[in-house]
Structure formats: structure tokens, C-alpha cells
């Protein structure tokens, strides 16, 4: 049985990681894609992204997820941390479906679950 502190940190890591990426995607959808790939248009695109509240909200969440991962790696064995980290693919897809209103077809779900298991197998060897 995992100590409650590890379980709480795992929940915190998954919430920060998925929350940060969902917020980043939501913000970038508001920013819109770059008009072209010329330097001036790309600079304007970066400027719009930096000025977006959701993108700026995502940055500390992603930083917190990075540091909580480091803490988890020092608290729990790799065999616990890596599957939890790969589980982000599944939680992220739920977030995309219910928060970002993306249409996740059964084929995409199947792909996400295969990637989740595959990443766990690759990182645990």
C-alpha cells in the first residue's frame, strides 16, 4: 500500500500536468494559428500567446507538474511513477473530451490506451 503522501503527490502531479496542458491548449485556441511562417508573423504569434491569460496560467501549472514529478521520483519507485506519468495520456484525453469539447472517437481512444501502455513498457526497461 502506497503512503498517503505519495498518493496525494501523484494526484497533484496529474492535476497540474493535465490542467496545464488543457489550459495551454485552450489559450492557444484563443490565440489562433500563425498567419504565416514568416519571422514577423511568428513573432506576433508568440506575442499574442504570451499575452493570453490561459497560456500564462498554464506555465506555473506545468512548472509545478515538473517539480512534483522530481519529488515523486525521490519518494516512490520508478515502477510506480512511470505508469502514473503515462496515465496522463488517458486523463488528458478525458480532459480534452469534457473540458475542450473535442470529439474523441473509439479509434482515438484505442490509440491513446495503446500509447499509454507502450510508453510504460518502454520507460520501465
Amino acid at each position: 500500500m502506497m503512503p498517503p503522501s505519495v498518493i496525494l503527490m501523484l494526484i497533484f502531479f496529474i492535476c497540474c500536468s493535465t490542467g496545464g496542458e488543457i489550459a495551454m491548449t485552450y489559450g492557444m485556441k484563443q490565440v489562433g494559428e500563425p498567419g504565416s511562417f514568416r519571422p514577423k508573423a511568428l513573432l506576433q504569434f508568440v506575442g499574442r500567446a504570451v499575452g493570453n491569460g490561459w497560456v500564462m496560467f498554464a506555465v506555473p501549472l506545468l512548472a509545478a507538474s515538473f517539480y512534483s514529478l522530481l519529488v515523486l521520483l525521490s519518494w516512490a519507485p520508478l515502477s510506480v511513477v512511470i505508469p502514473a506519468s503515462a496515465f496522463n495520456y488517458v486523463v488528458g484525453t478525458f480532459g480534452a473530451k469534457y473540458l475542450l469539447r473535442e470529439q474523441v472517437s473509439p479509434k482515438r481512444w484505442m490509440g491513446v490506451i495503446m500509447v499509454c501502455i507502450g510508453v510504460t513498457l518502454v520507460l520501465l526497461t
Binding site: 495551454m24 469539447r101 473535442e102 470529439q103 482515438r108 490509440g111 495503446m114 507502450g118 513498457l121 518502454v122
Partner: protein, 140 residues
């Protein structure tokens, strides 16, 4: 070129750039930290490591590649679904294993190969779905 084909091509290009930048960034950081040597976990050791990383060109190159990864990721999700870009980015783990075998001649376990196959098939399945399901021209 049709709208859907154009969307697929530019998303694929961004995901490939993400994978290249992330792998090169990690490689440069690893190489830079090997040049610096093992960090001593004492206040003076950490301060010395910080100064060494600031003056190490390979570390800066690694940071530049990781910034490139962030830029490509942000650009990709500005038009494509998060649930499309996120699993597609996992293709990098498969590329890392291929590079380890081809360049470093590492021996890869059966379990890891099984993981690579699952990632590749999973990414191919996700790749067959529509990259954007929330925009005005989205279709399921």
C-alpha cells in the same frame, strides 16, 4: 490541396519537429551535464554547477531545442486537438529506441520492443482520426 489534407500535413510536420527538438534537446542537456560532471549536493556544489551550466554552450543549445519543442507544441495545439497532438508526440519514445539500436548498438529487450510496437500502432490509430474536431470545419 484540400483543407483536411493541408491540416494533416502541417500537423504531421509540427509533431515531427516536436519529436526532433525534444530528442536533440535531451541529448544536448545530457552531453552538457556530462561535460560539467557530477553535481555535488552541497550549497557550494550546486552554485558551482549553476555557474558551469550558464557558461556551457551545449546546455544552451539543449535549452534552445527545448524552446523549439515548446514553440512547435503551442503552434500545433493552436489548430489541432490536444487529444491528437499529445499521443502523437509519444512517437519520440519509439524514435529514441530506434536510435539506440542503430547508432549506439544497444541491446533492446523484448518488453521494450513490445512497447515500441504499441506506441507506433497507437500513434497510427490516432493519426487516422481527424486532427481537429472543434474548429468550424471539423468533422468526426
Amino acid at each position: 490541396m484540400s483543407h483536411e489534407r493541408r491540416l494533416r500535413v502541417k500537423t504531421l510536420v509540427m509533431v515531427l519537429l516536436m519529436v526532433v527538438c525534444a530528442n536533440l534537446g535531451d541529448l544536448m542537456l545530457k552531453r552538457g551535464m556530462l561535460q560539467i560532471g557530477a553535481v555535488q549536493i552541497t550549497p557550494s556544489g550546486i552554485w558551482l554547477a549553476l555557474l558551469s551550466t550558464i557558461h556551457n554552450a551545449t546546455i544552451w543549445l539543449g535549452i534552445l531545442f527545448l524552446l523549439g519543442f515548446t514553440f512547435c507544441y503551442m503552434t500545433a495545439v493552436s489548430w489541432a486537438d490536444y487529444s491528437y497532438v499529445m499521443p502523437a508526440g509519444a512517437f519520440g519514445y519509439a524514435v529514441q529506441t530506434m536510435l539506440a539500436v542503430v547508432i549506439l548498438h544497444e541491446v533492446v529487450t523484448t518488453r521494450r520492443w513490445l512497447g515500441v510496437v504499441l506506441i507506433v500502432v497507437g500513434v497510427l490509430l490516432v493519426g487516422q482520426t481527424h486532427p481537429s474536431t472543434t474548429g468550424p470545419k471539423a468533422s468526426s
